[in-house]
Symmetry: C2
Subunit: 148 residues, 2 copies
């Protein structure tokens, strides 16, 4: 997770975040967190699920995903996003919302669209990108439907 | 605040929330909270300001407003929203975002539009309304500009 946080290009977390702070935001304030491993137990990525709002909005899940640098381009984000939708349904969620998909993070925007998420909103200048300064961010949303 | 929370029609908070929980969500996890009073010190309403996201999204403010039942129709929400925009600028924010404006709460949607907020997104079924069940909610956003 560290290179992603230090880069300040995709998540809003403080770029100088400590391990304890990272642990708290990924594990303690979420409902569940998962890791993706290869057959040798090598860590490929991680994601969390949590309610996006309190009680009367708690049927909408929010997730965050991070893929290890050495595991890029192997479909890890796709696999985690598919897994997260199944887990979200299992946990009782009815929809999934991403609150701040940075516009310049084209790979993620493209991937979430491909996985059935709609861009339901654009937030002007809502993300302070470490390289580009204030850039727009998208809100993406998908109503979850059980496959079986 | 209690009648608004117990009604479950406009805010996602648990309808059986305790005073301690209400205090925490309105005062402890926010950056600042304010009250509106009339000339006799009668409480008319309250609002909070907090960053809508962590560090790299912390230049966007989130606010919540509640008007006392006996003070409706007197421009209290308008006055608080104007005040909150000035306060937000003073605190260094550059924009303001409402994450869950319930579609059936037409008075609020109308008022925020009138005050220059744009509906930048619609969230299908994102609010579990106590009377109507799952209803849509809007994301509303305004870039703040200093008046002077």
């Amino acid at each position: 997770m560290e290179p992603i946080i230090r880069a300040g290009e995709t998540y809003p977390y403080a770029m100088d975040m400590t391990v304890d702070q990272a642990r708290r935001m990924w594990l303690d304030v979420t409902e569940a967190a998962y890791v993706a491993e290869d057959d040798n137990g090598q860590l490929l990525g991680t994601y969390y699920i949590k309610p996006n709002q309190p009680t009367l909005g708690a049927h909408v899940a929010n997730c965050g995903y991070m893929v290890a640098e050495q595991a890029r381009g192997r479909g890890v984000a796709t696999a985690m996003c598919e897994h997260s939708q199944e887990e979200a349904l299992r946990l009782g969620y009815r929809a999934m919302q991403f609150n701040l998909v940075v516009e310049t993070n084209e790979a993620s925007v493209h991937l979430w669209k491909k996985m059935g998420f709609d861009v339901v909103g654009r937030l002007p200048g809502a993300f302070n990108h470490a390289k580009f300064g204030f850039v727009d961010a998208f809100i993406m949303y998908k109503t979850l439907v059980r496959k079986d």
